[in-house]
């Protein structure tokens, strides 16, 4: 036991010492040979990921008070040399103005572009796309191992109304718009890497333009569907003790048992809250992208996270960095939603006999309902005070 604890401590210490976040201060550098400008030691210290005091650069911005007359050398620059002016731009230390109109046009330099581009075309595509492919493969394997969940004893032939027309409308509004968003989003994210090499630039161009139009505009239908389904179903999706029993039994998927459930079982509640929370988050980042620079949210979010967790996320972000973070977050949340929805589509179609009817025409077989939502059937029948044909 002690050996394990010591081993863990050594591992943690080793991690801390090799982590750049715990980097040591760089030694003092003598810059007299360069007249105070950057030296080779400064460059080497940065390459070794040591903390370099940047004040020798960020505060070396010229002296407007000692500006040469306008007809002298550098006079037109107001006491600053070109390097000093651009250094001031680099460290956000001088006022900039522009005649160009529009949000964030006075940002001349922001250095988050390439890291964002590399992250987007690298890990986001690799891990996001890989996760979807792996999950699809897993479901195919699961289908052949577990098979379709059948109605025990076959369908009874008697139908019971499961969802009203307005509920199904909200569901399909959300589902249809989500599928359109997912496909157009994947095309926008991955088209450059995978489609252009196959169909060429000319064929991809109209496809990308159409995808962008559809993605930007059908997002409103998604948000409306999200609100509709939340309002209609939230009361049925409050977690309770019954859900714990359902989860302990694994929903009966592997044991062929049928744990009791009301209108929605624990599995459906997980899907509901996943869609609601991720849907809300993806909508916020989507709105931030739809209205560029109007809805920055990451600096303020990081402030809250830092105050709660004591982390050190950056809270001073350039407008473009806000957009880059929104874009990456939008992709990550969208991939998570796609995984959840693929599982939902599987169980609602090929994975379970009789499940699709609930959203197809709103009526399910009574045997199916008793098998998967026995307490809901009892409630319905008690309310109606009738026999088996409500």
């Amino acid at each position: 036991m002690n050996v394990k604890i010591i081993g863990a401590a050594v591992l943690v210490l080793a991690t801390l010492f090799t982590n750049p976040g715990w980097a040591q201060e760089a030694p003092e550098v003598d810059r007299t040979s360069t007249g105070g400008a950057q030296t080779l030691e400064d460059i080497m210290a940065r390459q070794e990921q040591l903390k370099v005091d940047e004040s020798f650069r960020s505060e070396n911005l010229g002296d407007p008070a000692r500006a040469a007359p306008i007809n002298e050398q550098l006079g037109t620059l107001g006491g600053r040399s070109q390097p000093e002016i651009w250094r001031g731009v680099r460290y956000n230390e001088i006022e900039t103005s522009t005649q160009v109109r529009g949000p964030a046009v006075d940002v001349l330099i922001q250095d988050g572009g390439m890291p964002w581009y590399e992250l987007r075309r690298g890990p986001v595509i690799t891990y996001g796309g890989g996760a979807i492919l792996a999950f699809l493969l897993l479901l195919v394997v699961f289908y052949f191992v577990r098979g379709r969940i059948k109605i025990d004893g076959g369908p009874s032939g008697t139908k019971i109304e499961r969802f009203k027309a307005i509920e199904r409308f909200g569901h399909w509004l959300l589902a249809g718009s989500f599928i359109a968003l997912a496909l157009t989003g994947l095309l926008t994210l991955m088209g450059r890497s995978f489609l252009i090499p196959v169909i060429g630039q000319e064929a991809f161009s109209p496809l990308a333009i159409g995808s962008k139009w559809l993605h930007n505009n059908i997002a409103w239908a998604f948000m409306l569907g999200l609100v509709m389904t939340f309002v209609m179903w939230v009361a049925h999706n409050i977690p309770n003790k019954l859900d714990w029993h359902w989860l302990k039994a694994g929903g009966g998927i592997f044991t062929n048992s049928h744990p009791s459930a009301k209108k929605f079982n624990a599995g459906q509640k997980i899907i509901f809250w996943t869609v609601m929370i991720l849907g809300f988050s993806v909508s916020l980042s989507g709105l931030s992208l739809l209205f560029p620079f109007e809805m920055p949210m990451f600096a303020s979010t990081f402030e809250v996270i830092n105050s709660v967790l004591g982390t050190d996320f950056p809270t001073a972000l350039a407008p473009h960095e806000e957009m880059q973070l929104s874009n990456i977050w939008h992709s990550i949340v969208a991939f998570l939603m796609m995984l959840a929805i693929i599982a939902h589509i599987y169980i609602g179609t090929v994975g379970m006999e009789g499940a699709y009817d609930a959203m197809g025409d709103g009526h399910v077989d009574l045997a199916w309902a008793r098998q998967h939502h026995d307490l809901w059937v009892e409630e319905r029948q008690a309310k109606q005070g009738k026999g088996e044909s409500p």
Binding site: P103, R168, L173, A175, S177, L214, N217, W220, A221, G360
Partner: protein, 41 residues
């Protein structure tokens, strides 16, 4: 099935109307990126 088709059609109708409505409220890119002294029409 009818409700499903209706949901899909409604999503497309909302998508078609969205840019028209946004433009009415002054949210076209042209308006956002030009000053008041620019005549767009």
């Amino acid at each position: 099935m009818k409700v499903m088709i209706l949901g899909f059609v409604a999503a497309l109708v909302i998508a078609a109307l969205a840019p028209v409505v946004l433009e009415q409220f002054g949210w076209s890119s042209a308006e956002q990126y030009s000053s008041e002294s620019v005549r767009l029409d």
